[in-house]
């Protein structure tokens, strides 16, 4: 295995460099060609041959013949123009859709603010709680001249945001509990219960939990008591998120030096006090990038409620292209949806990387729920 060390170093290095340069240049050239070709094909489809709007037919309904003629060669963006409000807001009354729009903007603003370290302050929780209450109130209405809109008419992006945010908010206490129980010593029963919960949930696909919430849970309730389907899905999400977050929190607890625990007990703090003031704040601070990544995972996973027929933004998009007039333009709608999801997830993941670069948790160690 020993190399020949006697060779002169200089020419070898330059020969190697030359070869490397040659490879690099040819690969780059090849890639440029490839990218140019793909970009050209895509632009031809998405821009040059695209149909941006369609005229109204004699009955007032849009006439999609132009789109149908361009099928395969040009995109039909008219389907987005026609359907974007249904995709974004579902069955929410058309004239009142400024309300969910406002809620979405509020959420975006809060997400953005929460990802900056300088806004990390206990009052942020209060702001979030207030925003959730305000959003729900605005969606419901029934005050200040706003017509009442029952929750079963909500749909689209607000449902996606609510499922993910409320899910995380309520899963968090559950996760801390489970993590503390699992990391505890001298509480074997609780530890066992927590391990059972965490491993059971993490061992099965989310879809099976949603099936449970959809068809099994109603069977387990006393006759006469019924929980709305959206709420049942939310419960499944909380249980699901709780198990994954618990492992994140546990990793944060394990990463803390033993000295912290010892110092806390040396100060004479009780278990609860040391957790509240010493251990959890540090452990959670460490795990923020991982928590954000987990949240990105949940955000994507909310799309699975399609399987049990809840009208989140994925389901509304699928419903939008069922109308015979617009059948066959699925790719355009999926691209539109992809842009929405990407915008949310990429910006959150980007913020997580920014936070991560300051702390020292490697990305590879984070685990997303599946």
């Amino acid at each position: 295995m020993a190399p020949a060390p006697s060779r002169p170093a200089r020419p070898l290095a330059s020969a190697r460099e030359r070869r490397a340069w040659l490879i690099s240049a040819s690969v780059t050239a090849l890639l440029v060609l490839l990218i140019a070709w793909v970009a050209w094909r895509f632009l031809a489809w998405a821009v040059w041959h695209a149909v941006w709007s369609v005229p109204a037919g004699p009955d007032g309904a849009p006439n999609t013949d132009a789109c149908r003629a361009a099928l395969g060669e040009g995109a039909c963006w008219a389907v987005i123009g026609e359907k974007y409000r249904f995709i974004l807001f579902g069955f929410y009354p058309y004239a009142e859709q400024w309300r969910p729009a406002l809620v979405v903007l509020l959420f975006i603003g809060l997400f953005a603010a929460s990802l900056f370290r300088r806004f990390w302050h206990p009052s942020l929780f209060v702001v979030w709680a207030g925003a959730l209450v305000f959003s729900a109130a605005l969606m419901w209405g029934g005050f200040a001249g706003l017509p009442f809109v029952p929750a079963d008419q909500w749909g689209g992006l607000p449902i996606t945001l609510f499922l993910a945010t409320v899910g995380l908010a309520l899963a968090f206490p559950l996760a801390i509990l489970a993590a503390l129980a699992r990391a505890s010593r001298g509480l074997p029963l609780l530890k066992g219960l927590s391990i059972l919960y965490i491993e059971l949930i993490r061992g099965v696909p989310l879809i099976s939990l949603l099936f449970m919430a959809s068809v099994m849970l109603p069977l387990f309730l006393p006759p006469g008591i019924e929980i709305a389907k959206l709420l049942r899905a939310q419960i499944a999400f909380i249980l699901f998120a709780g198990a994954y977050l618990a492992e994140v929190v546990r990793a944060g607890l394990a990463a803390l030096p033993k000295g912290q625990y010892e110092a806390a007990s040396a100060l004479g703090l009780s278990y609860w006090q040391s957790m509240r003031h010493v251990i959890l704040p540090q452990a959670l601070r460490h795990t923020v990038p991982m928590l954000v990544n987990t949240f990105v995972g949940f955000f994507k996973d909310t799309s699975l409620v399609l399987v049990i027929g809840i009208y989140d933004v994925m389901t509304t998009a699928r419903t939008a292209i069922l109308e015979p007039r617009w059948q066959g333009f699925g790719i355009e709608v999926y691209l539109f949806l992809a842009v929405i999801y990407f915008a949310f997830c990429y910006s959150m993941a980007g913020a997580s990387r920014r936070l991560e670069s300051r702390s020292a948790t490697p990305l590879a160690a984070t685990e997303e729920p599946a």
Binding site: G72, P188, L190, F211, P218, K300, V307, P362, A364
Partner: protein
């Protein structure tokens, strides 16, 4: 001390009793609800004949003749059929992308980064719909794309040649792999030379075996041919399978790539420099110095990605590939026995997850022993 412990136990028993009471309440309600809705209980339905049609059946199945139990088994097999090759291909492709991300060719690295970011940040379900939509606009068999000789892609799915006698070959390869593993275990770890030799012989042996089979008369390639409206011969992978497989592989690869990259970056730069100083080429340093070390770091997160792939394959339900989740749903609609069907499905997934976790723990323990 005694009093504290007593209180701790008191609380624990209280919580557990609460959980038990809740479970008891659920069971009681379920019994009552099932009775009023005339839903049968127990696993008797597994032996009843199933009227459900199934498109892809790795084992013989006839609707209204075969049982629900068999239908369920087909679900399990179909899940494995997509998950196992999926894990292999995702690993290969993900590793390539991960290496590309670290490439000194800027454009290649950027492209790989864009791939990873793009796929990680869009729900898998949406990607599956996209691939499935694409599979449906493929040309009909007569105008099928000829990807390779004998490999055709059309809106009927992917048609690939079948190796007659492939089963025997597979068994032979498995035996070889087992022997290789056993050898690696038996040879003491510090005898690097012997290990290296086994590593070098491995590919040669496989090639020799392949050549042997290629010469054998019972072993031949059955290529699909276009006859009438569709392809005859060869193996047909349905559009649903192809879409699910493509989606799962491309999505999982974006995670694998990050794990591989993380693993490589975790190796100190000095290792590369030391390797180069020894006169190894770039590829040799990677193969002989870096990869063996990286492997130890990446295996646990990789396993967790494999489990994710298995769990994610349940999204098949949305695009009509009849995997475990999909067949379970059909069964529970036909029989109304939601509790049993879902419990059975969860048990299978849980079984896969737990046994893989168990194997991983064994592996971890062994690594620790080797290091210590």
């Amino acid at each position: 001390m005694g009093r504290r412990q007593l209180i701790a136990w008191g609380w624990q028993i209280l919580v557990c009793a609460g959980a038990a009471a809740l479970a008891f309440l659920f069971i009681h309600d379920a019994e009552e609800n099932l009775a009023t809705r005339h839903i049968a209980t127990g696993f008797h339905f597994l032996t009843q004949t199933a009227p459900i049609p199934i498109g892809e059946t790795p084992i013989a199945y006839t609707p209204s003749v075969s049982t629900y139990g068999r239908a369920f088994l087909i679900g399990v097999l179909n899940t494995l059929k997509v998950a196992i090759p999926g894990c292999v291909v995702a690993t290969l492709w993900g590793t390539l992308v991960g290496l590309a991300r670290l490439s000194r060719i800027t454009l290649l690295a950027r492209l790989a980064a864009a791939y990873v970011q793009g796929l990680r940040n869009i729900p898998l379900l949406l990607q599956l719909f996209f691939w499935y939509g694409l599979a449906q606009v493929l040309p009909p068999p007569r105008q099928a794309f000829r990807l390779l000789p004998g490999v055709f892609l059309s809106n009927r799915g992917l048609v690939v040649p079948v190796l007659e006698g492939a089963g025997t070959l597979l068994v032979a390869l498995l035996v070889l792999a087992a022997a290789r593993l056993a050898a690696a275990r038996l040879v003491p770890v510090n005898q690097r030379g012997a290990r290296g030799a086994a590593l070098r012989w491995g590919p040669g042996l496989v090639l020799a075996l392949l050549a042997l089979f290629a010469l054998h008369p019972s072993f031949h390639l059955e290529a699909p041919q276009l006859r009438g409206f569709n392809f005859q011969g060869g193996m047909v992978l349905s559009p649903e399978y192809v879409a699910l497989f493509t989606g799962l592989v491309l999505y999982t690869a974006s995670y694998v790539a990050e794990i591989v990259r993380g693993g490589l970056l975790a190796i100190p730069r000095g290792q590369w420099e030391a390797g180069r100083a020894l006169g190894f080429s770039e590829g040799e340093v990677l193969r002989l110095v870096i990869l063996p070390q990286t492997l130890r770091i990446v295996i646990p997160p990789m396993i967790s990605q494999y489990l994710n792939l298995v769990k994610n394959s349940s999204l098949a339900v949305a695009i009509g590939y009849q995997d475990l989740a999909s067949i379970t749903e059909t069964i529970l609609n036909q029989t109304g026995q939601a509790i049993e069907a879902i419990a059975l499905m969860m048990a299978v997934y849980l079984g896969i997850s737990l046994s893989v976790s168990f194997a991983l723990n064994l592996f971890d323990a062994r690594l620790k022993r080797e290091r210590g």
